[in-house]
């Protein structure tokens, strides 16, 4: 294979380290104080793409649907080494995974010089996947093979890639996959690279986010949410307070009561 063309799809998701609240409709998150971050496994997808590009030559393009804080994430992608970043504008807000896949499948084609690619990489899951998984939905729309839970990719000869996928208990499976392919990335070979704020700022000054128009209507979900709530807390742990010294003393009591110290 000559130079690699890799496309990475990036999603923003709520940062679950923050407190999440149910919005006034009782069916979705309260967005007022919602902090969004790039989906973690998408960051791994970008890292894997950059590793492969650096190994084999070629280009990495990052595409995301427009939304809050997406510019920062795309500039960060540029600072990490992406060659091209594109945001798709004009899609309705609050897309489900099924809707997102249909918008992407409809819009990618019309972005100048973007397709075809050898590999399309995205995170194998997102914490808001309710009505679908992005990678297999896109693979089916585009007529490409798909494999998920991917942790390593080697580019082979003759239009194939050797792909490693996780099973359980640390067992992995090795596969030969025809390219072009859509792969759901679980983890890159290395932790996603850190990029200093100064470099992101520099990317903002010199870099450019291309814009493309969303094509077509997003698919409507057929797994409608009737209600959202913080999970019931009947089985909640007995809390030992928030003072480290007092809590540690209680823990030691509990452990000695059970013969563990």
């Amino acid at each position: 294979m000559g130079e690699l063309k890799i496309l990475v799809l990036l999603r923003m998701v709520p940062d679950v380290v923050e407190e999440l609240e149910v919005g006034p409709d009782g069916m979705s998150l309260d967005t007022e104080f919602l902090r969004l971050i790039a989906n973690e496994s998408d960051e791994h997808a970008l890292e894997e793409a950059l590793i492969l590009r650096d190994r084999h030559g070629g280009t990495v393009s990052v595409v995301a649907v427009d939304g809050p804080e997406i510019d920062d994430a795309l500039f960060a992608s540029l600072a990490k080494g992406a060659d091209r970043v594109v945001k798709i504008a004009g899609a309705s807000a609050g897309l489900t995974t099924l809707g997102l896949a249909s918008v992407l499948a409809g819009s990618l084609e019309s972005i100048d010089g973007l397709l075809p690619v050898d590999l399309m990489l995205t995170g194998c899951q997102s914490i808001d996947d309710l009505d679908g998984q992005l990678a297999p939905l896109l693979a089916h729309e585009l007529g490409n093979p798909y494999l998920g839970l991917v942790t390593a990719i080697e580019i082979g000869d003759g239009g194939t890639a050797l792909v490693v996928r996780e099973f359980s208990g640390g067992v992995r499976g090795r596969y030969e996959v025809d390219v072009p392919a859509v792969l759901g990335i679980q983890a890159a070979e290395k932790p996603p690279r850190y990029v200093p704020v100064a470099k992101v700022r520099a990317a903002k000054q010199s870099g450019d986010i291309e814009e493309a128009a969303a094509a077509g209507e997003p698919a409507t979900t057929r797994s409608p949410i009737l209600g959202m709530a913080v999970p019931a807390t009947t089985d909640r742990a007995e809390m030992l307070g928030s003072d480290p010294a007092e809590a540690a003393a209680r823990i030691v009591e509990i452990l000695s009561g059970r013969g563990l110290v």
């Binding site: 069916m27 640390g170 067992v171 999970p231 540690a248």
Partner: protein
């Protein structure tokens, strides 16, 4: 058979998995609630001997493939999509495990049938199937009723005890064979994990670290505490992905299932993929700065504080207790 509840009898490397029996147990409840048949779908190469463990089902559809279908997803999803279109089941339940993961994603895409992902539970409500699903790393629960004649449900591990789905007996079998017509993804081999220095499944005490550890430099503290308690350090996915710990120390969906006497979870939020690996520990104590962290729904005891502060205090106190 229209309107039946179907369950994929997940099998891997020649055996039915625990997840298969858990999902079958849930399927049995739903079938009884609706007054319909429970059909187990058994798929793979050379899997027919497994059918006599599927006594919990009323019928078995045996889909035999000429070669291993581990990851031959094109063929598996096409075959299942065809079967669903022919028989119109009310639901197909798939375990949301690493074995069935790709099928959960691909089958709805191929068949056009709605997916309800991350189901903690499914129940019959007013004649409909209603799912409770965990989203946002376990921080929110949503109620979902899928539209359409058939729906695919991805069931989180632990929805029912596996033993509730284990029953010997051979229900009537309907045999179907499939061709591997889409070979764009070809299984080559399994790669076994490196043995690692320590088998965490054999430890009485595990000190588990997650994202809250913040950096490899803080690992020493966890190591010291583990040693004092006569245990070892293990971790959740972020600790492994950041290269703080080797793969042999990973607890959860992709890693190992552990059942120690003590599981001390430091800075682990408790996403469903992690809970799956440690929920059967005898005693679970969790330390996290976030009072809403899902780990506190699984732990016996919880501390809302910084793990580094608590670990330091614990080291001192355990040392004292041992010396005293």
């Amino acid at each position: 058979m229209a309107g039946a509840i179907w369950v994929l009898a997940e099998n891997w490397r020649g055996e039915l998995t625990d997840a298969a029996f858990e999902t079958l147990a849930l399927g049995r409840e739903l079938a009884d609630g609706l007054g319909v048949e429970l059909t187990a779908v058994l798929m793979g190469s050379g899997v027919s001997p497994l059918a006599d463990q599927l006594g919990v089902a009323d019928a078995v559809i045996l889909v035999e493939s000429p070669a291993s279908v581990d990851g031959e997803l094109g063929a598996m999803s096409a075959a299942l999509a065809d079967l669903m279109a022919e028989h119109h089941p009310r639901a197909l339940l798939l375990a949301l495990s690493n074995v069935s993961w790709d099928l959960v994603g691909l089958l709805p895409a191929v068949s056009g049938v709605p997916l309800v992902n991350s189901c903690l539970d499914v129940a019959v409500e007013d004649g409909d199937l209603e799912a409770k699903c965990l989203l946002y790393g376990g921080k929110m629960e949503v109620t979902v009723r899928p539209a359409g004649e058939t729906a695919v449900f991805g069931i989180l591990p632990g929805a029912r005890p596996a033993d509730a789905g284990r029953r010997d007996g051979s229900p009537p079998i309907d045999r179907i064979s499939i061709e591997l017509r889409d070979r764009a993804v070809r299984f080559v081999e399994y790669v076994e994990p490196d043995a690692g220095d320590i088998d965490i499944t054999r430890q009485d005490v595990l000190v588990a670290v997650g994202r809250g550890l913040q950096g490899e430099a803080n690992l020493d503290l966890a190591e010291e505490l583990a040693e004092l308690l006569g245990g070892v350090v293990c971790g959740s996915r972020p600790a492994i992905d950041q290269d703080w710990l080797p793969l042999s120390r990973q607890v959860g969906k992709s890693g190992l299932q552990v059942k120690p006497r003590l599981y001390l979870a430091l800075g682990i939020s408790g996403a469903p993929e992690h809970i799956e690996g440690m929920r059967d520990a005898d005693l679970i104590i969790a330390v996290n700065t976030d009072p809403e962290a899902p780990i506190f729904r699984t732990a016996d005891f919880g501390v809302e504080a910084d793990l580094l502060d608590v670990a330091s205090e614990l080291i001192d106190l355990v040392q004292e207790a041992k010396e005293g």
